[in-house]
Structure formats: structure tokens, C-alpha cells
């Protein structure tokens, strides 16, 4: 039997875009703690290897202190005779100018920083042989299919592939850039007992192919990366893949709480009570290690207020104190006014005309926005992202009504 820990996307020294210094600091140290805990786990469980499928750190941001920390953790594994298979990803590519290839790794670390697959034979503490095949990124923008370059498993000993890649069948892949793209078939045809994949931050099995897994990242970095995070404990025996078990290492948990506002919610105190009640249903015992993102939708007379950063900041601060959690984020830009644009659309006045015109704008938002704003625009809307356009136009009809109709 051969047991190893599959980690990926640790992103040490990544950038945390949080407004609070304390939250950024906690998140930064949480990633370190996650790595530390995974190493503790490997040592205590006397694992046969630790596999890191890329993006161990963010090359552009890696500090000397973090570099030392990483090497220190690898040395701990070395002291316990646990080999490390580490293939580089797009955030920590190899190559002479990048840190991964310049770090003085301990002798137990097998650095795979070349796109050409390399085979490493390892033997477990019980004498079970496994061949690891891995390839790494040597630049931050690899677009070739690295999986296709992996050799087909021929020997009797089980093979384990280690790769940082975008598998097209993966879920949540649309939010990640398609580096080293490959398909499920590219993996299946190699006949490997297990594929330790990295790049997609959502833990998952590849499209019902039980031998290929993304471990997900070790610590959630943004509200989109919610839920428990960690690594996968993989067991391989003579019959091949025996077991894959998730192990939680990420100390901080992100939780998304959807809250739909109604016209009854007309005051910030009411909103605060609603948010508190909604959050309480989702919070666990680890409050101090939880960050909650409230996603507000629906129609409320507070919509205008909730577009003001000062008000939202104050509400976040209040909710943080009330809930006793690490941090709170409130996404409120989807909250619309309670006025129904349909009531005004057909009226023979400028408002009706404007609402009808906005319908036209939405048909070709980018072009008409560019045309309407012309040189007045601060942002080059011809090149803006769809998300930005969405931010620009969401609730604009309601906004016009609020402004045009008296006593709105």
C-alpha cells in the first residue's frame, strides 16, 4: 500500500484583496498554517509521499521569508523521510528567472519544472512501489497540452500523474484561465492509477473518472472559494486506486449567504437583523475563523443607500461585531428599487422614452455605451469586460426612475 497527500494551489504569498489589514494578515498566515498542518498530518500519519500539483506560491509576490518558510516545511518532511513530488504551475513556473528553479530545495524534494514529463520511482514504507510521472510549467502561460506528453503506463507498478492543467470537463473551470489544457480522454488513455491535478480551485473528481482529482486549493482566498479546503489523502494498492479522502487543512472558511430583500426591508436596522438571522443559520462553531459574504438581491428602498461604500462599510463593520466573525463582505449592487419600470415604460414622457431607449441600449450595450459616453467616458468601454458592463448597467432603469419620478 502507498499513501500520499495530494495538495495543489496553495498560493503562498498570494494577494488578498480585502479592505482590512487584519483580514489580509489572517488570510496570509492561514495559508501558511494550512501548509504547516498538512505537513504535520503527513508526518503523524507516516505518509509515503506528499504531492504538490503546482501553484505552491505566487512567483511575483513570493517574499524571502515565505520562501524560507516553504523550505523549512520541506525540510520537516525530509527529516521524517517523506519525499515530495512538486510540479510547477502557472503561478510558480520553473525556468532560470523564476523562484521555483532557484530555490535550494532539500534532498527529499523532486522538482518537476519542465514540460517534459519525468518519471520518479518511489517505494512506500511497506515496500510497495509506485511510479510518479510529472511535468511542470516553465513559463506562466503554457497553452500546450502537457497531459498528452505523458507516457502510457506499461510496467506493473501503479503510475500516478502529477500535473497542473485545465481539464475541459472540470466544473468551475470557466473562472480559470485555460493553461495546459487537456481533456478527460487524455488522462484516461494513460492508464494511470491516479492523476493528482492542480489549477482548478474547486475540489472535484473529473467527470466521473474516479482516477483523476483536483484537490482544490488548501485555503479559500476569495468569497468564491467557499466551504472547507485542504488536500486529498490518496491510497494506492495492488488493485490500483483504493481510496481518496478529503482532509481539511484550511483554517479560515468562506461562507456565501444569499439574502433576498423585499419591500418590507426599508431600514438599515431591519436589514442588519435580516442579515444576522440569515448568517446564524449558516455559521458553525469556528466563528472567529469565518468570513461571510452576503449576496443581496431583490428590490428594496435601500438600494440607493446600499450603493454607497460608506454605508456598506459601516454595515459590514456592524455585522462583523454582531456575528463575532473574522470578516464580512456585502455585495449589494444587485439590489434594485421597488419601482417597476414597466409602469413607466409606455408613458408619453422623457422617462418612458428613456426606459424604452435603455431597452435598446441593452441590445448592444457596449457599442451604444461607447456612443453615448463618447469622450466623456473615463473607462474605455469598447474594451471593458462583460462584468464591468454588467456593473454599469445593472439597475440603471430603476436608478433613472428613482431620479426622474418625484417623491421616489
Amino acid at each position: 500500500m502507498f499513501r500520499f497527500l495530494h495538495l495543489a494551489d496553495l498560493h503562498l504569498d498570494t494577494v488578498f484583496a480585502s479592505r482590512r489589514d487584519g483580514t489580509r494578515e489572517r488570510l496570509r498566515s492561514a495559508v501558511r498554517r494550512a501548509l504547516e498542518q498538512s505537513v504535520d498530518f503527513a508526518i503523524v500519519e507516516k505518509l509515503d509521499a506528499v504531492v504538490i500539483a503546482g501553484d505552491l506560491f505566487d512567483n511575483d509576490q513570493l517574499s524571502y521569508a515565505t520562501e524560507k518558510f516553504i523550505v523549512g516545511q520541506m525540510e520537516r518532511l525530509n527529516d521524517s523521510d517523506i519525499p515530495v513530488i512538486y510540479c510547477t504551475g502557472n503561478h510558480d513556473p520553473g525556468g532560470p528567472t523564476n523562484r521555483a528553479s532557484r530555490i535550494d530545495w532539500p534532498s527529499n524534494c523532486h522538482l518537476l519544472d519542465s514540460p517534459d514529463p519525468r518519471l520518479i520511482d518511489l517505494t512506500s514504507r511497506t515496500g510497495f512501489d509506485v511510479s510518479f510521472v510529472g511535468a511542470g510549467h516553465d513559463s506562466p502561460d503554457i497553452r500546450e497540452n502537457l497531459a498528452s506528453k505523458f507516457p502510457v503506463a506499461t510496467s506493473v507498478r501503479p503510475h500516478v500523474g502529477v500535473l497542473h492543467a485545465h481539464i475541459v470537463e472540470s466544473t468551475s473551470g470557466s473562472s480559470h484561465k485555460k493553461y495546459a489544457p487537456a481533456s478527460k480522454d487524455d488522462l484516461v488513455t494513460k492508464g494511470y492509477a491516479y492523476w493528482a491535478l492542480g489549477h482548478i480551485h474547486v475540489r472535484q473528481q473529473i467527470s466521473n473518472f474516479r482516477n483523476a482529482w483536483y484537490s482544490g486549493n488548501i485555503q479559500g482566498r476569495t468569497p468564491r472559494e467557499s466551504g472547507p479546503k485542504g488536500g486529498l489523502l490518496v491510497t494506492i494498492d495492488k488493485s490500483g486506486l483504493s481510496d481518496v479522502t478529503f482532509c481539511e487543512f484550511g483554517p479560515i472558511t468562506w461562507i456565501d449567504v444569499d439574502v433576498e430583500l423585499s419591500s418590507d426591508v426599508g431600514h438599515l436596522d431591519q436589514l442588519a437583523r435580516l442579515l444576522e438571522a440569515s448568517a446564524e443559520r449558516n455559521l458553525s462553531a469556528k466563528r472567529a475563523e469565518t468570513i461571510v459574504r452576503f449576496i443581496l438581491t431583490g428590490a428594496s428602498s435601500l438600494s440607493t443607500l446600499l450603493r454607497r461604500p460608506v454605508e456598506v462599510d459601516a454595515l459590514e463593520q456592524s455585522m462583523r461585531d454582531v456575528l463575532g466573525i473574522l470578516d464580512v463582505q456585502i455585495d449589494s449592487y444587485r439590489v434594485s428599487t421597488p419601482r417597476d419600470p414597466e409602469q413607466y415604460r409606455a408613458e408619453p414622457n422623457v422617462l418612458g422614452e428613456a426606459l424604452s431607449f435603455l431597452d435598446e441600449v441593452r441590445q448592444d450595450a457596449r457599442a451604444i455605451t461607447v456612443d453615448l459616453l463618447g469622450d466623456e467616458a473615463v473607462i474605455d468601454w469598447s474594451d471593458a469586460s462583460e462584468e464591468m458592463l454588467d456593473d454599469l448597467l445593472t439597475g440603471i432603469s430603476e436608478d433613472i426612475i428613482e431620479r426622474m419620478v418625484k417623491d421616489a
Binding site: 422623457v350 466623456e376 473615463v378 454599469l392
Partner: protein
């Protein structure tokens, strides 16, 4: 569309009211305040557009009637195509309606629920109430508002008062947009603040990266310094080694030279190794010790002789005494008992003589013999106690039999009397029966019974008397048989019964016989003991060969004294024997020691003579000198090993054999000092570099600042989006207003000119919009030029223009649609007569195409309108 009838079943305070309305005339609805004018107007609007709100509980005109709330009514009207139409509406739980148009078989009926009637579907309730209903406040606006505002509302909003003028909103948006971002550098828009912060953050990030690079450089430097330290330490070690060789080789060689000289002087002293440090002194001491030993030898020999005499004093006699020591010691305690036994034997003999003399007379009386031994033998052949008991018993039986005989005679007499009494009683009872005398019967029976009872009681006593006689005869028989065995003198018997003294005599003789037996037994035992003791004492004296004629006490005392003396001699001889062995051993040792000292003396003398060429003293001095040299050499050798433990390794070093010049020695020292200084300097640099790293690592990392930058970027982007969003809304409004104006203004102004021409009797008929400013301008025939529609135009002219525009808007909205009624609520009440007259002209023109309803509470107004406009009057209240 003209109203013909309003049937109000239930609406506000109207219930079951019906109003005929003349569709061809202007209608004046008149009534005092609270008469229901507003309710009536609301009813008309509701019939056209449906209930608002559509919930009976929330409707302001719903009133409780017959325990239920409901609103019901019907409005009949003639449409523009002259069809007669009616709309029935009802609101209870849900809105209901029935709309009919046309008449008879060709009429259509439709359920509109709460939807507007088809005639008004080109506008909504809000527009109708805002545009088609003119109120006093609308007209007051001309005085309270600027013309720009009024013009915006009329032309930009077609008079819809719930819509803000687009221009105002656009200005507000542009102001807000400037708070987010401005193209110029004025003010403090949000974006500028964020950009300023971004700039600071980027600078911080640059510094943080520099710090990190500095840390990395320091780490490299530390690595180099550590290497440098390693190199310097290595050189220092080599120099120290060299210096040590130099410093150590010299004294080692000096020592070794001295050792060598001393060892040469000492030569081979091994043959004299056994000689002491001071042979002469030792020789003297040897001789002294030998003298002491010889004196000791003499003393030991004297002691041996003394001990031999002591041993001999313990001879055979003493041995024999110690052999019977236990017996002698037992006699010392037993001799007293022996003397006592002898005395007791004599006393027993005397007692036996006295007893014999006392028993002999009794024996002769009973047996006719004094041979006590034989008599005692006979007595012992019978059971003495049984015989004595029977003799005693015969006396007792005889006594009892005598007294019993007397009693038996008395009883027999009593028995006879009792029999007589019983018979007499019986006779008496029979007599009583014969005579039937109860007393006689009772007395007779009682006496009979008592007599019988007495007889039964005394009968056993007579039987016992007979038994005693039998028992006496048995005892006499037994006694005779016993006495016959004892051959008792026959004189002591009478009729076979012993005499009365026999028993005491027999008793005394038996007691004496027992005493005699006991004394004889004691005499025999004591005689045996005394004889045994005498025999043993005789044997003891014979064994010791001593005189045995003395009394035992004396003999035993003498033997005890001899025994004590023997024991003392024995112990003395034993001690002497033991001591003699030890003294002899000591003597042997002393002899050996003397012999050994002799040998040592002669050996030493021989060695000293040998070393000193026959002279002992010279030889001794020579040996002492050699030995001193040897000791000194050994001490130096120890010093060498101690101070230079590795001197042997040193001998193996190549450098040790080399002769260092003074320059080399000094050069080595100088270089070593240099290396030490360099080491200190590098160590200091190393510590400094490490300290710098420690301090630098506390700085905020670039990634954290990058996070802040990311947030600031998002904020900046958000500010820009918000800014562009406002500008976009402004642009949308601007374009929409322009489009709206293009679409509506020309028609409105054209129609307004028509009305204006009527009102002003052709004086003003040219109202235009300035293309540049968008302002209304009016052609003045008097001044032959266009004037701005604003002050200083007369108030009257402004009123005319305002009314013309309002009505033109209504016409414009109804263009290509059903022409809807116009409602005027006290619009002209505050106007002066001249202005009213001009307004009536407009209303007259207006009423040609549409129904005009005027609400007023003023009678003079009713009168004036009916007079001028031939209006129908509906009076409420």
C-alpha cells in the same frame, strides 16, 4: 368621448345617485365644500381607468353599507365614433366590470376586470390625472415657478407633474459624476483620492520589494560571510597549528635533552634497585633490629620453660576427679536428701512397733490369734467395707422391724373399725332407702365411703412391715457367709447374728491393718533408697581410691575441693599448652627474622663494597648520586608528558624537525592576529546582516500592499464605473428628452399656436422654439421681433400661452386617439374677469372636440359660465 350618465350605486358618500350629463355642453359640477365634487371626479376617473387601489379595504372611498364594503357604479358615454358605451364596475373582494359598446343586437360586452376602458388605453391614470385635470395649483405655478421650469414640464414632460424635468436630473447627475471623477484637477473627487492612495501604495510596494530584495541580498551576503568565516577559521587553525608546533617543539626538545643527560649520568642502576635510598642508615637500622630480635628470642625461651611446668602439674588424680565431676557435683546436692532418708527410715520403724502393740489385743479377741500378718491376709481376702456395711445394716433392720411391728398392730385395729363403720354406714343407707330418709341415706353413704377410704390408705403399711423381715434375713445370710470365711470366733455370734461389738472391733482392726500395710510399704521404700545411696558412694570412693569410712557429708566435701583444684590445674595447663605453641611459633619467626637480617646485612654490605671498591661508605654515596639523576630524569619525563601530552605526535610532525627562523615565528604571530581581526570583522558584519534581516522581515510584505492596491484599484474602477454610470444615465436622459421633444414639441407648439390665435384674437399666433437655447419665443407684432416667453411678457399673455400649451398637449396626446374629457377644478377662480373671458374662449374652442367638465363651489362662477358658455349645471349636495 363624452359622458351621458353617471349612476353611482355606492362610492364614497354617494349611494344610489344618478346624474344625467349633457354630452354636447360644457358641464359645471357645482356644490359647496364637502358636497362630493372630488368624490365625483374620482368616480369618473375610476370608471375610466379602474379601481386604484384594487383592494376594497384600502380604497379611500369604500364605506360600510349593509354590513359590507363595496364600490359600484356605471358610467355611460358616447365614444368618438358616436357609439353609446357603458362601463359598470364593482369592487368587493375583487374588482369586476362589464363594458358595453354599441346598442342592441350589435352591442359588444366585455369583462375588463380592473383594466381601463378601451377609449383611454393610450394614456394611464397618472397621465390623465396629471395632464387632463387642471387645478388651481397648476395655474398658480405660473406665479411661483420660473418659466424655464414650466416650459420643461410642458414641453419636456407634457405637463406631467410627477416627472422631474430631465434637465434638472441631468444637472444633478453631472454634479454627482464630478464627485467621483473630474476631467480637470479641481475639487477632490473620489477617484483622485483613490489615485493618490494608489500612488502611495505603489510607492510602498516598490519599497517593500526593495526590502525583500535587500533581504535576499543580505541572505546571499550572509552566505558569503559564512563562507569567509569558514575560510578564515581554517587559516586560523593552520596558523595556530604552526604556532603551536613552534611554541611546543622548543621546550620539548630542551626537556628531552636534559632527560637524556640525566639518564646517562644515572647509568644502569637496576642492580642496586633493591638498595634503599640511604644504604648506610639502612644498614645501621638492620643491625639495631637484629639486636632487638635476639633479646626477644631469650624471653620466649624462658616462657616456654614456665609453661612446661604448669602442664605437668595436671596429673592422673586430677584427670580421675574430672572424669567423675558430674557425679561429685550431683552428690553435693544429694547428700542432704540421703541423710533425711536415713532419719525417716528410723521413724517408720518406730511407728510400726507402736501399731503392732496396739492391734494385737483386738486380733486376739476376734480371731484368737496375734499373728497380725495372717489376720491381715484374711481380712484382705474379704470385702471389708461390704462386711462392715452389712453388719451396720443388720442393726438398722432390726430396729426398724421392732418399730414397724407396733405400727402394724395399730393399723390392723383401725382397719377393723373402718370395716365396721363402713358396714354400719351401708346399713344406715339401706335403712334410709327403705325409710326414704334422705338424711339417713346421706349419712350412711358418707360414713361408708370414709371408712373404705381409710382402709385403702393403711393397707400398704402393713405390707411394708412384711418386707423388712425378708430383707433382714438376706443380710444375716450374707454376713454369715463372710464371717465364715474369716473364721471369726463363734463366741462373737448369736443365732447367726454378730454381737453388737463385732462391728466396731472389725472396724478398728480393719483400720489398723490398712495403716500397718502403709507403714510397711514406706519402710521398704526408704530402706531401698538408703541402701542404694550407700552402694553408689562406695563405688565412687573406690574409683577415686580414697578413704570411704568418713560420713558421706565429709566425703563429698573433700571430693568437691579436690575437684576444684583439678579443674584449676587443668585450665592452667591448657593455657600453657596453647601459649607454648604460640611462643614456639614466635620463637621460630624470630629466628627466621634474625637469619633474614643477617642475610640482608651481608647482601647490602657486599653490594656497597662492590660499588665502592670495597668501601661501604663510598659505595653508598655513589649509589645515592646515580639514583638522584635517575629520579630527576623521570620527573622531567613526567613534566614532558604532562605539559606536552602530544609530544610524541609532535616528533612525527614534519614541522617539528624544522628549524623556524625568528622572522617566520613573528610572521606567523602577525598573520594570526590579522586573521583574528578579520574574523571579528566578518562576524560583526554577519551579525549586522542578520540583524538587518530580522528588522527588515518585520516590514509589510509586498503581497499585502498588493492586496491594498487591488482593493484601491477596485475602488477606483468602481468610482469610475459609478461616474460613467451617471454620465450614461445623463446621456440617456439627454437623448431621450431630445427624442421626446422632437417627437412631441412641433405638434404641441402648432396646436398651441392655434389656441393662441383664438385667445388673442389673432394678435399672437407665432410661438416658436429657439434651436440654440431650446427656449420658447413669441413673435411680437408690435415690436416686430421674437420675445422670450418669460417676464416681462404680461401675466395675461403668459396665462394665455400656458393654457394654450396645456390644451395643445391634451390634443397632442389624443392625436389619433379618442379625445378624452378635460376636467378643470377651480382653475379660473382667482383670475380677473379679463383673463377669465379669454380662458372661456379657449374652453369654448376646446369643448368643440371634447367634453369639458368644470368643478366649482362658487355660484358666481356657475352663473358666469352658464351665461358665457351655455353650460349644463349639476348641483351636488
Amino acid at each position: 368621448m363624452r359622458f351621458t350618465r353617471a349612476n353611482i350605486d355606492s362610492y364614497g358618500h354617494f349611494a344610489g345617485r344618478s346624474f344625467e350629463i349633457d354630452p354636447k355642453r360644457i358641464v359645471v359640477i357645482h356644490g359647496p365644500n364637502e358636497a362630493g365634487k372630488t368624490t365625483f371626479a374620482s368616480f369618473l376617473t375610476t370608471m375610466m381607468f379602474g379601481f386604484s387601489p384594487g383592494n376594497i379595504d384600502q380604497h379611500p372611498y369604500a364605506q360600510l353599507r349593509s354590513n359590507e364594503k363595496r364600490l359600484t357604479g356605471t358610467l355611460e358615454f358616447v365614444s368618438g365614433d358616436r357609439r353609446r358605451c357603458a362601463i359598470y364596475r364593482e369592487l368587493k373582494s375583487t374588482p369586476k366590470s362589464r363594458y358595453t359598446s354599441g346598442e342592441g343586437l350589435f352591442g359588444d360586452e366585455e369583462d375588463l376586470r380592473n383594466r381601463p376602458i378601451p377609449s383611454v388605453d393610450h394614456i394611464n391614470r397618472r397621465v390623465f390625472k396629471s395632464v387632463y385635470s387642471l387645478s388651481l395649483s397648476d395655474m398658480d405655478e405660473i406665479e411661483s415657478r420660473t418659466w424655464d421650469f414650466i416650459q420643461d414640464r410642458l414641453l419636456g414632460g407634457l405637463g406631467m407633474d410627477y416627472i422631474k424635468p430631465a434637465r434638472v436630473v441631468i444637472e444633478s447627475l453631472e454634479q454627482e459624476a464630478k464627485q467621483f471623477w473630474r476631467p480637470d484637477r479641481r475639487g477632490k473627487p473620489v477617484s483622485s483620492e483613490i489615485e493618490q492612495r494608489l500612488k502611495q501604495l505603489r510607492e510602498s510596494r516598490r519599497k517593500a520589494r526593495e526590502v525583500d530584495q535587500r533581504v535576499r541580498d543580505l541572505a546571499v551576503k550572509i552566505g558569503e560571510l559564512e563562507l569567509s568565516i569558514d575560510g578564515l577559521k581554517k587559516e586560523r587553525a593552520e596558523l595556530k597549528y604552526r604556532q603551536r608546533i613552534i611554541n611546543r617543539a622548543r621546550p620539548v626538545n630542551t626537556l628531552r635533552q636534559r632527560i637524556s643527560e640525566l639518564r646517562s649520568k644515572a647509568g644502569d642502576v637496576s642492580p642496586y634497585a633493591e638498595l634503599p635510598a640511604d644504604p648506610i642508615q639502612e644498614l645501621r637500622e638492620l643491625r639495631d633490629r637484629k639486636s632487638e630480635l635476639q633479646e626477644r628470642k631469650l624471653a620466649l625461651e624462658s616462657r616456654i620453660r614456665e609453661d612446661s611446668a604448669t602442664i605437668d602439674s595436671y596429673g592422673d588424680k586430677q584427670v580421675a576427679l574430672r572424669t567423675v565431676e558430674d557425679e561429685i557435683r550431683s552428690w553435693t546436692s544429694r547428700v542432704g536428701r540421703h541423710e533425711s532418708s536415713v532419719a525417716e527410715l528410723d521413724e517408720t520403724n518406730a511407728q510400726i512397733s507402736e501399731l503392732s502393740s496396739r492391734l494385737q489385743p483386738v486380733a486376739e479377741s476376734l480371731f484368737g490369734s496375734t499373728d497380725l500378718k495372717e489376720i491381715l491376709a484374711q481380712l484382705n481376702s474379704v470385702n471389708q467395707s461390704a462386711l462392715l456395711s452389712d453388719i451396720g445394716l443388720i442393726a438398722d433392720v432390726e430396729s426398724a422391724r421392732t418399730s414397724d411391728g407396733e405400727a402394724t398392730a395399730r393399723l390392723k385395729k383401725g382397719q377393723t373399725i373402718a370395716l365396721v363403720v363402713a358396714l354400719a354406714g351401708l346399713l344406715c343407707a339401706v335403712t334410709g332407702v327403705v325409710l326414704a330418709n334422705a338424711f339417713a341415706i346421706g349419712a350412711g353413704l358418707t360414713s361408708s365411703i370414709l371408712a373404705v377410704a381409710f382402709w385403702l390408705i393403711v393397707r400398704p403399711r402393713s405390707q411394708a412391715s412384711g418386707d423388712l423381715r425378708v430383707e433382714k434375713q438376706d443380710v444375716v445370710n450374707r454376713i454369715n457367709m463372710q464371717l465364715g470365711l474369716l473364721r471369726i470366733d463363734s463366741n462373737r455370734m448369736r443365732n447367726g447374728v454378730p454381737d453388737s461389738r463385732l462391728a466396731p472391733d472389725m472396724q478398728r482392726l480393719c483400720d489398723g491393718a490398712n495403716e500397718y500395710v502403709r507403714l510397711m510399704s514406706r519402710h521398704r521404700r526408704l530402706s531401698e533408697t538408703v541402701a542404694d545411696d550407700r552402694q553408689r558412694l562406695r563405688v565412687l570412693t573406690e574409683r577415686l581410691g580414697t578413704d570411704n569410712h568418713a560420713p558421706p557429708t565429709v566425703l563429698i566435701a573433700r571430693m568437691s575441693r579436690d575437684l576444684e583444684d583439678a579443674n584449676f590445674r587443668y585450665q592452667s595447663s591448657e593455657k600453657a599448652r596453647h601459649r607454648t605453641d604460640s611462643v614456639r611459633t614466635d620463637l621460630d619467626r624470630t629466628d627466621a627474622a634474625i637469619e633474614k637480617l643477617d642475610r640482608q646485612e651481608s647482601h647490602m654490605a657486599r653490594l656497597l663494597e662492590q660499588c665502592g671498591d670495597g668501601d661501604l661508605r663510598v659505595g653508598a654515596n655513589s649509589i645515592i648520586s646515580k639514583r638522584r639523576a635517575q629520579i630527576h630524569a623521570d620527573q622531567l619525563s613526567e613534566t614532558l608528558d604532562k605539559d606536552y601530552p602530544d609530544w610524541r605526535d609532535l616528533l612525527d610532525q614534519e614541522l617539528s624537525t624544522r628549524k623556524f627562523t625568528e622572522g617566520e615565528v613573528v610572521g606567523t604571530e602577525l598573520r594570526l592576529d590579522e586573521v583574528e581581526e578579520q574574523l571579528q570583522a566578518v562576524a560583526s558584519s554577519l551579525a549586522s546582516a542578520r540583524e538587518q534581516i530580522r528588522s527588515l522581515q518585520d516590514a509589510k510584505p509586498a503581497s499585502d500592499i498588493e492586496g491594498e492596491i487591488e482593493v484601491a484599484r477596485k475602488d477606483l474602477l468602481s468610482a469610475k464605473i459609478e461616474r460613467d454610470r451617471r454620465m450614461l444615465i445623463a446621456a440617456v436622459l439627454r437623448r431621450s428628452e431630445q427624442k421626446f421633444r422632437d417627437q412631441h414639441q412641433p405638434d404641441v407648439i402648432k396646436k398651441a399656436n392655434e389656441y393662441l390665435k383664438i385667445i388673442t384674437s389673432g394678435r399672437h399666433n407665432k410661438l416658436v422654439l429657439d434651436d440654440l437655447t431650446g427656449s420658447l419665443r413669441l413673435w411680437s407684432e408690435d415690436e416686430k421681433r421674437y420675445l422670450n416667453v418669460d417676464q416681462p411678457l404680461s401675466r395675461g399673455t403668459l396665462d394665455q400661452i400656458y393654457l394654450a400649451l396645456r390644451i395643445a398637449i391634451v390634443d397632442h396626446l389624443d392625436r389619433n386617439h379618442e379625445k378624452l374629457p378635460v376636467v378643470m377644478d377651480e382653475v379660473l377662480v382667482n383670475w380677473d374677469a379679463g383673463r377669465r373671458q379669454r380662458a372661456y374662449a379657449i374652453l369654448k374652442k376646446l369643448s368643440i372636440d371634447r367634453h369639458v367638465l368644470m368643478f366649482t363651489c362658487h355660484q358666481w362662477m356657475v352663473d358666469e359660465i352658464t351665461d358665457v358658455l351655455d353650460a349644463q349645471v349639476i348641483t351636488l349636495g
